[in-house]
Amino acid sequence: MTTVMCPSCESDVELTAAPRQNEIIECADCRSELEVLSVDPVLLALAPEAEEDWGE
């Protein structure tokens, strides 16, 4: 099991499965939503705010 640091609260975030590019995971400590920016190595960043989402 991989562990990486939460970029928001610096606690450890456990990745329970093979993470995917751009997947959103939640920090169990601070509840921040984190985006997987890369998978090898795993890099996390705060996920962007949800934008309103209507398409054609």
Binding site: R20, N22, A47, E51, D53, W54, G55, E56
Partner: protein, 280 residues
């Protein structure tokens, strides 16, 4: 093109038509010819989902959808999808409409948002969606929301007796084309032109409380206060039309109607009291 807008834009009607079939193009053209001959200013806005799906099939391209975490499903517009969308709308649906209008003696000019900055959009740089069951940030979606309309271009054409025939794509702030919802594009155009009416032509006689029963059509549908949920019988394509209707009403369009695109006189609600559902 520099002609001023008529006072209050009182005579301009924006009609959203097509996209999901059920439109009787011959009847629409006849009625457009009649109304424009009587001096009414009309703008047509069209989509073209059905033609897009057909072209994607011919090209062997699978159209994909994004499911937002709240369950809303939207089109996933990557570069190949935007190409298909542009060809289907500007290369098939619009030429067919223009040809049919010409046969009825209507001078019509086809436009997309790319023409002289007609529709400028803010691109959605990051969209949240559920991919294979996992929440994901999608960054290559080429879609956006309209932030500006070149009303002067439309006023100039209208003043010359021309019917503008408008569709996506729009132009994003980075100079790239993006997809944009055609119903909301119609609302944005109606607001920008200070149109007196916005009319959505659909495959049903209006807003139905029972989707299976055309007799359940409402004369009037009152939108819930912003932020409150729509009634449970609002679903499918009606959801987005009501979002667009709200934008038009908030933007000052006097009347918004949802009516039957297959009716003998599909634009009746452009000048009278229906038939159709008036959105208030």
């Amino acid at each position: 093109m520099s002609a001023p807008a008529p006072a209050g834009g009182a005579e301009t009607v924006v009609v959203k038509c097509g996209g999901s079939g059920a439109l009787d193009v011959q009847r629409l053209c006849e009625h457009v010819a009649e109304l424009t001959a009587a001096g009414r200013r009309l703008v047509l806005v069209h989509g073209g989902s059905a033609e897009m799906a057909r072209l994607a099939g011919q090209l062997g391209l699978t159209l994909r959808q994004l499911t937002a975490p709240d369950g809303v499903v939207t089109r996933y517009t990557d570069a190949a999808t935007l190409d298909v969308l542009t060809m289907a709308l500007a290369g098939r649906v619009k030429p067919a409409l223009l040809t049919a209008l010409d046969r009825h003696g209507v001078a019509a000019v086809g436009l997309t948002g790319l023409d002289a900055g007609l529709l400028r959009a803010r691109r959605k740089k990051a969209v949240r969606a559920v991919v294979d069951g996992r929440p994901t940030v999608v960054r290559d979606d080429r879609s956006g929301r309209i932030v500006e309309v070149n009303a002067a271009l439309l006023h100039g054409l209208l003043a010359a007796g021309v019917v503008p025939v408008v569709s996506p794509p729009a132009l994003a702030e980075d100079g790239e084309p993006v997809n944009t919802n055609a119903d909301r594009a119609a609302a944005a155009v109606a607001v920008a032109l200070r149109a007196s009416r916005l009319l959505f032509l659909t495959g049903a006689p209006g807003v139905l409380t029972d989707p299976a029963d055309p007799a359940s059509v409402l004369d009037t549908h009152r939108l819930p206060p912003a932020g409150e949920p729509a009634p449970p019988w609002v679903g499918g394509g009606m959801t987005i039309k009501l979002v667009a209707a709200r934008e038009a009403l908030v933007g000052g369009v006097e009347q918004v109607w949802i009516a039957d695109g297959g009716a003998a006189r599909p634009l009746a609600a452009a000048c009278g009291d229906g038939p159709g559902t008036r959105i208030v």
